[in-house]
């Protein structure tokens, strides 16, 4: 047995360390077909465990690969054979809920859906709702800087973390408590915002204090189809001018809407691009808000309009189905295209943002890029914040197309940069988008920023043992 394993077992106890190759295999994959390997899978149950681990790793130059649900899709959570996976999903207590002060204290292994199921019972919510809400853990979402459908109103993870307890990969396995329980906090540099979105490269998150908010009293939703993308955007502009409290603003392009309806069915159907808008309001104003929205859709030239006065009604009507089914539809489409039934489809979800006013241009150019490379593309996104998710797939037997695929992604990122956007909005960099990072900073003549990031990494992780080679490209 590897000497590290023996030591780790002594340190933590046998039931927290697995060397079973099959178990390790299950902890070495992510949601986009990256497969690494590791010496062991380790399951800490407390901050003390994590601290012991960090100190041991530091002393013995052992690499640590932190992980939650491994639902990330950029390669940030997969380990290598030079280290151990440290999976946080045994640390899954919600330690405190405080409605008066509006925060929860949660361990990193709590899934966002679990958190919300508890809060919703009392009329509250944690508003970061990635499409992967059922799998994403608090630790993973913090480290990915995740966002979701309600991003138009609530921003992303970075806006909701009040405090963190972290363990540093240093000689003491130092435990730091950053931030606190208050929204206002001006205590020096904002180390919390540095760790949010750091993809497990700076510190191990062992506890977090998250802001929570009231769930809207009433959510009114209107969906409509537009033959012309410009009309859809005009509608978006009007809604933004209307002073409605927009919670969700989602978009699916015409080809995708059609494809989704054909492959998975939908009660909501129409010709063209789909725009879904949900507005937060109060019971008394629901009908007025609905009428106002419908009016705007109508004026903008929507050819088919659906509306719901409550979230339940919207769900019953299936208003969100087409948008939600983007990913399932891609899997279905990809599987249908397989020649050999035993082939695996690979699905990739892109994640650029452009300023919302550039969306029409971005969609046009995305389609050109897709045509150029011949990859079929499913397209939707969060119009509210300009975040687009083109989804493409290739077949297992077409691995030779990977190179083409990489070029395709580079083209997309380049386009985003040209339009004043970003190459990653909520999924992160991992190992797949490092080139994009260079591209983006170079375009702003700011490559030095990357060097600063490397320096920061060195201060937190002097021996480069924490999730090495993730996120930061060498410059």
């Amino acid at each position: 047995m590897n000497r590290h394993i023996e030591e780790l077992i002594k340190l933590l106890g046998e039931d927290k360390v697995s060397t079973d190759p099959i178990t390790i295999k299950l902890y070495s994959k992510n949601a986009v077909y990256y497969e690494g390997s590791a010496l062991a899978a380790v399951f800490p149950e407390s901050t003390v465990d994590v601290s012991k681990l960090a100190r041991y790793a530091y002393e013995n130059d052992l690499k640590i690969y932190p992980q939650g649900s491994a639902s990330e899709i950029v390669g940030s959570s997969t380990p290598r054979e030079d280290g151990i996976v440290v999976n946080f999903m045994r640390m899954r207590k919600i330690k405190e809920i405080n409605y008066v002060d509006s925060y929860v204290v949660a361990e990193p292994g709590v899934r966002l859906i679990e958190l919300n199921n508890v809060l919703r019972r009392d009329g509250y919510m944690f508003p970061i709702d990635p499409a992967s809400i059922k799998s994403a853990t608090v630790g993973g979402a913090i480290n990915s800087g995740s966002g979701g459908m309600m991003g138009a109103k609530y921003g992303t993870m970075k806006d909701w973390v009040l405090g963190l307890e972290v363990v540093l990969p240093d000689e003491d396995g130092t435990v730091l408590r950053l931030g606190g329980k208050t929204t206002k906090n001006r205590e020096g540099y904002d180390l919390i915002r540095l760790i949010v979105g750091s993809e497990g490269t700076l510190a191990l998150v062992t506890e977090s204090t998250l802001r929570i908010t009231l769930a809207p009293e009433r959510v009114v939703t209107v969906a409509g189809f537009f033959g012309d993308l410009e009309d859809l955007m005009a509608c978006v502009v009007e809604i933004k001018k209307s002073k409605l409290d927009v919670l969700i603003m989602e978009f699916v392009d015409d080809a995708t809407a059609k494809m989704t309806v054909e492959t998975l069915g939908s009660k909501v159907v129409g010709e063209g691009h789909l725009l879904i808008t949900s507005v937060s309001t109060v019971d008394e104003a629901a009908e007025r808000v609905r009428d106002a929205l419908v009016h705007i859709y109508d004026e903008a030239g929507a050819n088919k309009i659906y509306s719901a006065l409550t979230m339940e009604e919207a769900e019953d009507m299936g208003i969100f189905d087409i948008r939600r089914n983007l990913y399932p539809a891609s899997i279905k489409m990809a599987s249908m295209g397989l020649r050999d039934d035993e082939e695996k489809p690979y699905i990739f979800v892109e994640d650029i943002s452009v300023p919302p006013t550039k969306l029409v241009e971005a969609v046009r150019r995305l389609r050109n890029i897709s045509d150029k490379y011949g990859f079929p593309m499913v397209l939707g996104g969060h119009v509210g914040d300009g975040n687009l998710h083109p989804v493409v797939w290739i077949r297992e037997s077409e691995r030779d197309k990977m190179e083409q695929f990489n070029k395709f992604v580079l083209d997309i990122m380049e386009m985003a940069i040209e339009l004043g956007g970003v190459i990653s909005s909520e999924h992160g960099i991992g190992t797949v988008k490092k080139d994009g990072l260079i591209m983006s900073f170079r375009s702003k003549n700011s490559l030095k920023a990357l060097r600063l990031m490397h320096e920061i990494k060195k201060i937190f992780d002097p021996k480069n043992i924490l999730n090495p080679d993730k996120m930061l490209p060498s410059v």
């Binding site: 299950l26 949601a31 649900s69 491994a70 899954r92 899934r111 992967s132 489809p345």
Partner: protein, 99 residues
Amino acid sequence: MDGLEDIKRDILRDVLKCSYCAMCEWVCPTIDVESNNRIYGPRGRINLIITYLREGIYSETLIESIYTCLLCMACTYQCPAGIDIAEDIRRFRMILDGV
């Protein structure tokens, strides 16, 4: 009834749609009680089936994983890829039965 080889192909075709998104795990009682150990969850089971059917990897872990499934179908209704998870696990027992 289909022969074992047909059944294997059928199962494989279905489970290969798994993209490892983990949306099935939160409703699974066995992974819940076993502190989120993936071998006791639907995603783990499906992927152990894949490694067995494709690479022939057989172990006690596989048996433990497959025979602790409750076949309660909670996962089946969560899978965005529409994998018939519980049914695939059940039918996979047919294949293990002969091993």
